[in-house]
Amino acid sequence: MAVTNYLLAGFGGQGVLFAGKFLANLGLIEGKYVSWLPSYGPEMRGGTCNCSVVVSDEPVGSPVVSAPDVLMVLNLPSLDKFENTVRAGGTIYMDTSFIERKPVRKDVKVVALKAAKEASENGMLGLANMILLGKLLADTAQTSINKALEESISAKRTDMLALNLKALAKGKSL
Amino acid sequence: MIVFDKPKSLSDKPMHYCPGCTHGIVHRLVGEAIDSLGIQGKTIGVAPVGCAVLVYEYFNFDFVQAAHGRAPAVATGIKRANPDNIVFTYQGDGDLASIGTAEIVHAAARNENITVVFINNAIFGMTGGQMAPTSLPGQITQTSPYGRDVKACGYPVRVSEMLSTLDGAGYIERVSVTSVKYIKQAAAAIKKAFEYQKEGKGFSLIEVISTCPTNWGLSPSDALKWAEENMLPYYPLGVYKDRNN
């Protein structure tokens, strides 16, 4: 049975929860069992925030991801906090625009992009999350990605659809 | 020819109130008001905890018994469920001015379209005469045996004045039932409060200065005298708020 545990973390406002919701919708569209669990509470008010996403062939047991297969971090405090939790053989996706140090772990794969820098240079301010996801989902069918994005973006913000797609494509190309 | 009759809204159940208690008078005034407005069939009363806890036995319409102090919240639920009903609470000073201050303040602030009949007799009656938030400075009660000491217990709460500061409150009047003259004024005020609700004008409260001969340790006639001499100066009668004017 295949199960992928994602943990996404960063500052509030960096789109961590949205990125997780997008991953969960993508899993749903691909016929998987999924769960999305945010950290909630005071840390949502401008502090660090994270969310757990589980995508599985079986019904999801605990939605709490304590040992992620994939860790995506957008700031240094998140790398400091979660680096050690990654399963051996797992992958860390990190935005090196704000994280200067390299991961210490040698038993995990590291994908490092200057996502925020790319975003601001390409008119996608605030979409570093989607650039990293674009890299993560490089092998995923575009039709699924399009559908998942439509499901994830609220009806009031459909104007953001094209820009998000652009950011995903940008990440894929890096 | 019948020249005097019991209001149809009152039941035949003998009331349990002490000799000289003014609850019976206020019950009658409420019954008369409801009869005269022809709203008996759509009226829901909300009963308090206090001496009037059994008020639902004395009226001929639907009633909901509330927990101590919560009558305005319960009335809100009923009124919001069926806005065409006429909903009133009947509460004493322990119920409304002590444990139920949050509920009454916010029902008034929301301009909840209900009517409140508030009995102020400056004492907890049913529990045996303890000090109420409305007990007067120096008043002797079971729990202020040396007289209400304002240094330790603070000052009485003037509910009508307090609630009239709220923009939400529609009609607030303080009346008394300590004399025939006052009873007539009280009857007019209570009827007006129900009319107010019937016309959809919002929150109305009638504070009724009442007596408690038993717990005051006075004869019924002395109790009426005591209320007029001691309570009326502290709790002046009159209209405190009338959005119509």
Partner: protein
């Protein structure tokens, strides 16, 4: 039917609306605020009532009023707020009024944390308020089940004229899962006992929990407990997972049952015969299922997000026939399947 991602808090709110609930009274408290927000957005559009009360105490009393007026009504809160509502819950039970109360539990006692917990089991299952009474307590363990049990909650509440508590927690309230919300059109109750005005056509209805004579109260309570017997017969619900050949049986509800299910899978992968009993109703408690299991298994392991509350009911059901172990986490933390597996191995589940 197409599934969409929804938070537990949103799903329970939408399901209530689909069940015909048009009256919601609440007060803000984390982690259940999405319920109030959802209701405040939806109710005005469908002719319903959303009212943010001045306190949880007022909110439950507004529920009491609307239920007394014969309406399908709901409130929601989280642990400290449920403490405040217990007065009203006692009155609702005393007056035989139906309603649905959602508790998105957080850690306690006191202000505690806002993180998920199951430490309100005693409070919600055993009463909490004063007097002899029961409430039906549903314990969903998924977002879909939060919605489904809300719909069924209204039916059960009205059928037995008693409050139904949806005992959930911060995880289930906050998490999103795919759900399909599809329910038959609700049949709204016709409550001839409700306080709706006599219209001059019937004797007054009185909604009341007060009795002056102890004999009268006794007979009312006894007849209520007769009704509770039918609830036990008809409404007890439980799910079993891999219990047929189990040596060790985990007993867990809600979020802990999901962890327990994960632990069963881990244990089975190692060849350990472990199963899971998941009570879906906490009252009535599925004692007979546990009693039956006690004849076959070697031991039970109760897993809870508390210091151990439901474990007492498991012990009562097993009546000392088999050992009942406990593993729990307090303060808003959730055990991991690996921790539960370690506990299984510790109590003798070694091959």
């Amino acid at each position: 039917m197409k599934k969409v991602l929804m938070k537990g808090n949103e799903a329970v709110a939408e399901a209530a609306i689909m069940a015909g609930c048009r009256h919601y009274f609440g007060y803000p408290i984390t982690p259940q605020n999405e319920i109030g927000a959802y209701m405040s957005a939806r109710m005005p559009k469908i002719g319903g009532v959303f009212l943010q009360a001045e306190s949880e105490i007022s909110a439950i009393n507004m529920v009491y009023g609307a239920a007394g007026a014969g309406k399908r009504v709901m409130t929601s809160s989280s642990s400290p707020g449920i403490s405040l509502k217990t007065e009203g819950i006692s009155y609702l039970c005393g007056a035989d009024l139906p309603c649905v109360i959602v508790n998105i539990q957080r850690g306690g006692p006191g202000l505690g944390t806002i993180q998920p917990s199951q430490a309100d089991y005693f409070q919600c299952v055993k009463g909490g308020g004063h007097g002899d009474y029961k409430t039906i307590v549903f314990a969903p363990s998924s977002v879909q089940e939060m919605a489904d049990l809300a719909v069924e909650g209204f039916s059960a509440a009205e059928k037995y004229r008693m409050p139904v508590m949806i005992l959930s927690d911060g995880t289930l309230g906050q998490m999103m899962e795919p759900v399909a919300l599809k329910y038959p059109a609700p049949k709204l109750p016709t409550s001839d006992w409700a306080a709706t005005g006599t219209q001059g056509k019937r004797k007054p209805n009185v909604i009341n929990s007060l009795f002056l004579l102890c004999e009268q109260l006794e007979s009312a309570v006894v007849s209520r407990f007769e009704r509770y017997k039918t609830v036990v017969q008809n409404e007890t619900r439980v799910e079993e997972y891999q219990t047929e050949d189990a040596d060790i049986c985990i007993v867990a509800f809600g979020i802990s049952a999901r962890v327990g299910r994960g632990a069963v899978n881990l244990a089975r992968a190692q060849g350990l015969k472990v199963g899971l009993i998941r009570p879906i109703t906490l009252w009535p408690f599925p004692s007979s299922t546990i009693e039956k299991a006690a004849q076959k298994v070697k031991a039970f392991l109760t897993v809870e997000c508390s210091m151990g509350q439901m474990v007492e009911d498991v012990r009562l059901a097993t009546a000392g026939k088999k050992p009942v172990h406990f593993f729990g986490k307090a303060g808003g933390t959730i055990p991991s399947p690996e921790q539960v597996l370690a506990e299984i191995i510790k109590i003798g589940g070694v091959k």
